[in-house]
């Protein structure tokens, strides 16, 4: 090796090139930088971080969407006025609007105009509908202050008295069903997330211990040449922190890419039935800051766990070597 290097220097000199820089600027790490066990550990860490991040993202999405459904539905109620013989629909709409606006806790009351009603009925009755010819029920959408909702029973009675053909729908049945469904979904998601996190922790711990077992001879040699336990543990911890961080960052980034890509896809295909279905289920497919923060926390935790496990394994192996020594007591 030396002769080869010297020959290169000789040639460089003959060609008038400057001599090479001294070969080694940094010493070889005491823990070998790359081996099969290390790469396998990195892959396992990457996959588990990816799965944990996906689960976390999905749970965040479902819980955000459930909360959104709940507040959207609780935010408005509707009053339906059925057409009746001799009923002046426009006057009835105005009366309902007026009564609603007078009530405390109501933020707005909009009668659905002719055009909006036509659009609403278009799937059933087709285009070009003349509302004058066909008596159809009309709707007034009433906005509700969520924090200070009105007394629905009192409002219902007042409306009935003023306009007998009006009926109030406060969506309560829907809200309670959706709330319980959303709670169940979030609970199931949290349970799955817990299981995935436990699986991730155990996999990372056992994979790290597996990768460490091939390094036992290094620990022994360092121990016998007088290295302190802290030095040996530090070398391994640094090495495994790098490995764990690389694997976890790749896994976490892959999960984020999946979320961004799905979000883009739903945005680009908003009109199609598939995308509508996904949007209905998961909202806008954005996991928000809490989701991103969660992924970062998972990445940091997994990397820290890998480093910590390697440190504990070194300590345990050193204790096993010293078990034979007189210090055991």
């Amino acid at each position: 090796m030396i002769e080869f290097g010297e020959r290169i220097d000789e040639w460089r000199e003959r060609l008038g090139l400057p001599r090479r820089k001294p070969r080694r600027t940094r010493p070889t790490p005491i823990v070998p930088p790359a081996n099969v066990a290390g790469r396998a550990l990195m892959t396992v860490i990457g996959i588990m971080t990816f799965l944990a991040s996906l689960t976390l993202g999905a749970v965040t999405l479902v819980s955000d969407t459930a909360a959104n459904w709940q507040s959207q539905i609780a935010r408005e109620i509707t009053v339906q006025i059925k057409p009746d013989e001799g009923l002046d629909m426009n006057a009835a709409l105005q009366t309902v609007q007026m009564i609603a606006l007078e009530t405390r806790g109501v933020t707005g009351a909009d009668a659905l105009g002719d055009a909006a009603t036509q659009r609403l009925l278009e799937p059933w009755l087709g285009e070009g509908l003349d509302l004058e010819e066909l008596p159809v029920p009309r709707l007034v959408v009433i906005g509700i202050d969520e924090r200070n909702p009105p007394d629905f029973e009192q409002l219902r009675t007042r409306l009935r008295t003023a306009v007998p053909a009006a009926s109030l729908d406060d969506h309560r049945a829907w809200v309670s069903r959706l709330v319980s469904m959303a709670h169940a979904t979030v609970l199931i998601g949290a349970a799955i997330l817990t299981l995935v996190m436990i699986a991730t922790v155990l996999t990372v711990v056992f994979a790290t211990r597996g990768a460490m077992s091939g390094n036992r001879h290094i620990i022994e040699v360092l121990h016998f040449v007088g290295a302190k336990a802290g030095f040996i543990a530090g070398e391994f911890q640094r090495h495994f922190l790098k490995l764990g961080l690389a694997g976890a960052v790749i896994g976490g980034a892959a999960a984020l890419i999946v979320f961004v890509a799905m979000g883009r896809w739903t945005q680009m295909n908003q009109a199609t039935p598939e995308a509508d279905q996904i949007t209905a289920l998961f909202g806008s497919f954005s996991i928000g800051w809490s989701g991103y923060a969660g992924v970062v926390i998972i990445v940091v935790t997994v990397a820290g766990l890998t480093a910590m496990t390697s440190r504990l394994t070194v300590k345990r192996q050193l204790a096993a070597i010293d078990m034979l020594s007189p210090v055991e007591g």
């Binding site: 090796m1 030396i2 070969r23 010493p27 070889t28 005491i30 070998p32 001879h217 290094i218 022994e220 040699v221 360092l222 121990h223 016998f224 040449v225 007088g226 290295a227 302190k228 336990a229 030095f231 050193l318 204790a319 070597i321 010293d322 034979l324 020594s325 007189p326 210090v327 055991e328 007591g329």
Partner: protein, 219 residues
């Protein structure tokens, strides 16, 4: 420097493999530890560098009662004892230079302070051409010499060598022996475990002979 008093050793519930060992290794002394295969030479060496606990008796190492040492005390004592293992225990991913320098590196010394000393020692053991070679390309004798250099690099007070000539031909064995004697002259106590009678006949030195678990000493 090391003192054994009535030391006995047994593995698990088996019979005592070493019995009533009483001897001491003096400063700057030179001795062979010998005996038939399986007599317990390696076990005795392991007790000498605190890697094996005796089942009875008292061991004093560098003035400290071994039974009172804590785990944190061990590195500082091991740093004064150089060990050459029978199976070398070189790290395959490090070069000869890095293997020899390892004891200094783990002590946190700057490379610039020891680089020249390490290279000189490697040349002294005859591996000047192999400074950057990894152990896998070294012959048995070269690995042996690299292991010896690693044990010597921090000028230990005691050198323990387990069959240091087991993997080399007689001329190299003689050369290694001369190397140990030279080291001894510079002040290091040397214990060589071997069953090579021809090697021992070359030097007038104290012999510790293990047989049937007991130790006979011939000064």
């Amino acid at each position: 420097m090391i003192r054994f008093e009535n030391v006995g050793l047994r593995y698990d519930m088996g019979p005592e493999v070493l019995r009533d060992l009483t001897f001491s290794i003096q400063r700057q002394s030179f001795q062979f530890l010998t005996g038939p295969s399986g007599a317990g030479k390696t076990s005795l060496l392991r007790m000498l560098f605190l890697a094996l606990k005796p089942t009875r008796g008292l061991i004093t190492v560098l003035g400290r009662d071994a039974s009172t040492l804590t785990r944190a005390d061990l590195p500082s004592i091991r740093r004064r004892i150089g060990v050459v293992f029978q199976d070398f225990r070189l790290l395959d991913h490090l070069t000869t230079y890095e293997n020899v320098a390892l004891p200094l590196r783990v002590r946190g010394k700057e490379e610039s302070t020891y680089r020249q000393d390490v290279i000189e020692l490697i040349k002294w053991v005859g591996l000047g051409e192999r400074v950057d070679a990894p152990p896998v390309v070294l012959s048995g004798g070269e690995k042996q010499r690299a292991a010896i250099a690693r044990a010597l690099i921090d000028q230990p007070d005691i050198l323990l060598a387990d069959e240091p000539t087991g993997n080399v031909d007689p001329p190299l064995a003689r050369r290694l022996l001369r190397l140990f004697m030279e080291l001894n002259r510079t002040g290091t106590a040397v214990v060589i475990a071997t069953h090579d009678l021809a090697l021992m006949d070359q030097v007038e030195a104290r012999r510790l002979i293990l047989s049937d678990g007991r130790l006979d000493i011939y000064d």
